[in-house]
Symmetry: C4
């Protein structure tokens, strides 16, 4: 019951974030290609952030699905994650409207970094409630993907000031890394479910 409401609230927040981002695609005044062209970087940033929020929703979905119960610590770890995700529309718009300038690109990476850390903390909080021998703990294992993402974001932030496109490549690369649903959890829990 408790878990249902946590999922519903998180779904609500992520659904709103993913849609209010589109409000930054300001409707241009002209009706020709020239009016549409300046929106291209904002649109590109929107696509990237849409994919990221989709990935977070997807992974959140799988993780909560595998969790048996949630406690107060999980509720707050979840709100902490939602806080950083809530800044993605701002960072997206700032980066897009400034044509991927160094500082906005670095800030975008910083928000992704803090969201990734918050996700890691949330995963630990859920696993702590499940016990070290739980399926979810086994499914997460050493979590190389989460750790690699955190390392890559941390590297992208200073690199945004050297060559901005390297940071962009990193953001796009990490997104690709996560686009496939987590095989660790799918495999183990899928097998577990199949065996039940």
């Amino acid at each position: 019951m408790s878990k249902t409401r946590l999922e519903a609230f998180s779904d609500g927040v992520i659904a709103i974030l993913i849609t209010i981002m589109v409000l930054e695609l300001k409707v241009p005044h002209g009706a020709d290609w020239g009016a549409l062209a300046p929106l291209f970087p904002v649109f590109t940033a929107y696509v990237l952030s849409f994919v990221y929020l989709g990935i977070y929703w997807n992974n959140h979905h799988h993780m909560l699905h595998a969790a048996a119960r949630v406690d107060g610590r999980v509720l707050w770890a979840n709100l902490h994650l939602l806080f950083w995700l809530s800044l993605i529309p701002f960072a997206t718009a700032w980066m897009g409207e400034n044509h991927f300038a160094p500082l906005p690109t670095a800030l975008y990476g910083a928000i992704l970094l803090l969201a990734a850390i918050a996700y890691y903390v949330l995963a630990r909080a859920i696993i702590a409630g499940e016990g070290p021998g739980s399926r979810l703990a086994a499914a997460f294992g050493r979590d190389w993907k989460g750790k690699a993402s955190i390392g890559l974001y941390a590297a992208a932030i200073p690199l945004a000031f050297v060559r901005e496109w390297i940071a962009d490549l990193i953001y796009a690369g990490v997104a690709l890394l996560w686009l496939v649903p987590d095989p660790r959890i799918e495999a183990r829990l899928g097998g577990g479910r199949g065996g039940t």
Copy 2:
């Protein structure tokens, strides 16, 4: 369980899209008919898009209701559909504020086309999970309505540059085509349900 959350998330996104569109009806400064009149094309475009989003929600509802289970592929096909739907408020506002000028009208058609293709892909992804002999596969059948919509949208895009009102007529016509709940699914599944 998994399906419930997919439905809830999709409902959330569509509910937000359908309501943020109304924010483009900018409150006029004057308090007379003259102040209200310029909003008429924006309002017309709002009505059309409200109906389209209602149709998508309705059909999505029926299709998911008929699906027995969802997997990672369906989750992403669903996000892909939501992405194109999320651009409808932008396209609506741009078309409305420019009094249905050719390029905005063509862009509106392009978004509808991409959303229709995404819906088709989602339907295929769900049917692939259900198996070719499933009730849903039978209910969809040859899907002439989905294919006809795709063809009509594709025709409307160039026609918007010839005679803009032809494109509008096509958009309104396709909406009318879908306004009735899909008899294929209703009939077959309704019968199936009645027989159970």
Copy 3:
């Protein structure tokens, strides 16, 4: 199942409408009472519309709770109601920002009228699905409150051009009329539930 999703979607739309109205309370630039004062009519209109949307949510909640099933006709009657409700934030802001001028006040009444008619149509669509001998049909009975509201709104629209405050009084009065949960439904269904 179907009913759950209809409720969830309606809740989502009403929740969003009730909250985006607050975006019309534009943050003033100064930090003194003089900066706050011009917001007073907008705030008053906000309170009225918040109460109206609360009433609709509340009655919608009771009516759907009493309904055994929903069909395609109910889905569309529900979307039709949501369409008119979606225009409440616009009408509220226009009325508030123009200090309850005649035309915006009349338009506000027109939206309330159309929403009330849409609610009536929705109730009929649900009752049609339940059958004339259903508890819901009995609970609605002659529906004097719904019909009185429609009559009062229809009277308020021309009166807004004569004496604007008469229309305001009518809107506030109808809201008071509905503020108490519908005793017809509560009594009959409450008794029915107690007897089960």
Copy 4:
């Protein structure tokens, strides 16, 4: 059933409020630190309000979870709470954009005070439905924390005009007081659940 929809609607409203606040973080035009700096007070106010809305969601969650049933009185007490919470984004933006000037800071406190009173009224309405001997009534007990918050907010409002930072300290202090999930309810109900 009824409770589920009340929770879903409240979740929806709180989720939207928590996310539309971020729209007040207006995207700056420049791409350097100088463009970002003026957003700092708005961001600080955003963090405070995010925490407050998180606390309300969290406590609301626990309280409703413990409630066995809801009636019309609870529905309206809940809408009353949501009304005051809906003004938090406005008060947050006004306070943040005016760098915590006295009047906006006092208004922020007034909104917190009215929300706290509304929460108290909601708790009483739920307990009235549960009966005086219920677990929830026992769990709330003398409710020193709720009463202390109300007293502190009432004190902060005049203090904002004397030394504005004292009011800020009080708001932050009350938030810290509530950040831990309510041990009264957790302990009693947790034990009760364990014993069942």
